[in-house]
């Protein structure tokens, strides 16, 4: 099984230097640019490869690039931005890449920059990733010294500058238009779309924001081609994916696997099944803005096209497992408290609705809830549905709630009838100890 993104990452957690990176073929993709691969050709190659954005949305990368104005009349400068905000709870895949192989991101950024004819790139990194920041800073300095950055690429008139921007917290910065405001030094609230960043982005100029893992794929597509890239995957979406798992499983971790691997395989073959003494009840497939999946969904191929919309979506592919020693209501309460705290406060339904949802869930845990509260929770999943709020944060917050109300309905009811949380402190203590 090929693992192009992670095969060279050191298991001991140390990073890879420029010398090591070049020795295993690093930066060789730039020769393709020098020998005549035009920006439009690169866009087509990435489209043919079927690369979909790894930030959670799964948008086709080549298509996204095709909206950027090209040619002599296009506004300048254009910008390419790597989204390394990675604050979606349960998600740690971009960190693995940036810490383990920082030059892969630099090379991916140069290629993406070339594809849209952007002369400047920013890596937007969440403030808590200090080790990634240190290693990326070193990698960028090495790439400048070696002439990959800051010099005209031989055989082309393309010159690329790359900067690291370390942020200072707040989940909303990962939303691409909030990220653009953050980079401009403004309060990080989202912007209205349209216009989309591809035409009016950073400082009003054409801008593409791309997830870190997405960018790591591009050098390999350039080196080995679209057909090879499709063969890596088991389904119609191209490539591999970093799958992760956390919660009460025997062996939490991450693995680069073909797109279309099932949750059952990740859980049973890679994570070694559930931890001793606890049983599986459900999982969020990719961060907390995705809907629960239960036993009946475990054999669905996990990719961007195979999960039926009524079931949910893949998200970041780093799953979080719910076990039988954990109260599903308490679990969802933790998620909604996160969303309420991280709401940027710009639009009323989200700013007011999320704390309300959290309070309602708290009333279940504390034994004060009535069936009216249950219907209020259900109403919120409609009031905060897509289209009712200014950005995707609040609808994302409703995905786990709505699915929990469906799959764990009896547990919500039991909180009402027994006036409290049926999961005793002792039971949760047992879970923590396994």
């Amino acid at each position: 099984m090929e693992r192009p993104l992670t095969q060279h990452i050191h298991p001991d957690g140390t990073t890879r230097t420029l010398r090591e990176y070049v020795k295993t073929g690093g930066y060789s993709s730039l020769q393709r640019l020098s020998s005549g691969l035009a920006p439009k050709d690169l866009q087509r190659l990435v489209s043919d490869a079927g690369l979909r954005g790894r930030g959670g949305g799964g948008f086709l990368t080549g298509t996204k690039w095709s909206f950027v104005p090209m040619g002599a009349n296009a506004q300048k400068p254009k910008y390419i931005v790597a989204n390394g905000d990675e604050m979606e709870p349960g998600t740690f895949k971009d960190r693995v890449l940036m810490e383990g192989d920082p030059h892969g991101l630099v090379e991916g950024m140069i290629l993406a920059g070339y594809a849209i004819d952007a002369e400047v790139g920013y890596i937007f990194l969440r403030g808590e990733y200090h080790l990634s920041a240190q290693r990326l800073t070193e990698a960028i300095a090495e790439a400048y010294a070696a002439g990959y950055l800051g010099k005209t690429l031989p055989g082309t008139d393309f010159r690329f500058d790359l900067h690291l921007h370390a942020s200072a917290g707040r989940y909303i910065c990962g939303e691409e238009t909030a990220l653009i405001n953050a980079l401009e030094g403004k309060r990080a609230v989202p912007r209205a779309k349209p216009p989309f960043p591809q035409t009016v982005g950073l400082w009003g100029k054409p801008t593409v924001v791309q997830n870190v893992e997405t960018l790591y794929n591009i050098p390999h597509i350039v080196n080995q081609g679209a057909d090879w890239y499709h063969r890596l995957s088991r389904t119609q979406d191209g490539g591999t994916k970093i799958y992760g798992i956390s919660g009460c499983v025997a062996n939490p971790g991450w693995w680069e696997l073909p797109l279309g691997t099932t949750a059952r395989e990740v859980l049973e073959q890679y994570a070694g099944g559930m931890a001793d003494g606890v049983r599986f009840r459900g999982l969020l497939p990719g961060g907390i803005s995705t809907a629960f999946m239960t036993e009946e969904h475990l054999d669905l191929p996990l990719d961007f096209s195979s999960i039926p919309p009524e079931v949910g979506r893949l998200g970041t592919a780093t799953m979080i497992v719910l076990d039988d020693h954990t109260c599903p209501v308490g679990f969802v309460l933790n998620l909604e408290k996160f969303f309420a705290r991280e709401s940027c406060g710009w639009c009323t339904p989200c700013r007011e609705g999320l704390p309300w949802v959290a309070k309602l869930l708290m009333s279940f845990e504390e034994g004060r809830a009535t069936s009216e509260d249950l219907s209020l929770l259900k109403m919120h999943t409609k009031w905060l549905a897509p289209g009712h709020t200014f950005c995707g944060l609040a609808p994302g917050a409703m995905a786990p709630l709505q699915s929990a109300l469906k799959y764990f309905h009896d547990d919500f009811e039991r909180h009402i009838s027994t006036r409290g949380c049926p999961w005793s402190k002792k039971l949760s203590q047992q879970r923590i100890l396994v």
Binding site: E128, A168, Y171, N334
Partner: protein, 154 residues
């Protein structure tokens, strides 16, 4: 007043952006690294340097959880309270910190050594529960290990 070193660091940061204001976060983080927190006076110095209003700088400073608008202890402990860490007992970790150092979430220990703050998922969920002290991340933390971990931060 900004010291010469601070000024030099800010001048470097500004170079990365076509508009000085882009360096607001860099400026806040850089100065905070030296002074521990962002006072009203600091805010004004940064605003003057970036040639924007104090309100502009404060609207950014108050938005981000890693910018401190109040003094903090000599060290800051960030306890992850997101889902994977919650499943694995972050509440017990936080309780133990409170017992040992007499500081609840949002408080500083009476000896000024440690400020304790909650933080969103630290991206180390496979090693939950996770804890970050200053810039160092610790995984698989148990209440029993806290004292030994914090030992290093005097």
């Amino acid at each position: 007043m900004l010291s010469d070193t601070e000024r030099r660091e800010l001048e470097d940061a500004v170079k990365h952006y076509p508009d000085k204001r882009g360096a607001t976060i860099d400026a806040l983080l850089t100065i905070q690294r030296r002074r521990g927190w962002i006072s009203d006076d600091t805010l004004l110095e940064i605003a003057q340097f970036l040639e924007i209003t104090v309100e502009d700088v404060d609207s950014v400073a108050t938005f981000y959880n890693l910018i401190f608008r109040k003094p903090v202890g000599r060290h800051v402990a960030f306890v992850c309270d997101s889902i994977s860490c919650w499943i694995k007992g972050c509440e017990q970790v936080q309780e133990q910190i409170k017992t040992l150092y007499n500081a609840d979430l949002g408080q500083t220990s009476p000896d000024g050594r440690l400020t304790v703050l909650p933080i969103a998922c630290l991206g180390h969920c496979e090693r939950a529960p996770a804890l970050m002290i200053d810039q160092d991340v610790y995984g698989n933390v148990t209440p029993e290990k806290i004292e030994q971990i914090v030992e290093k931060y005097k």
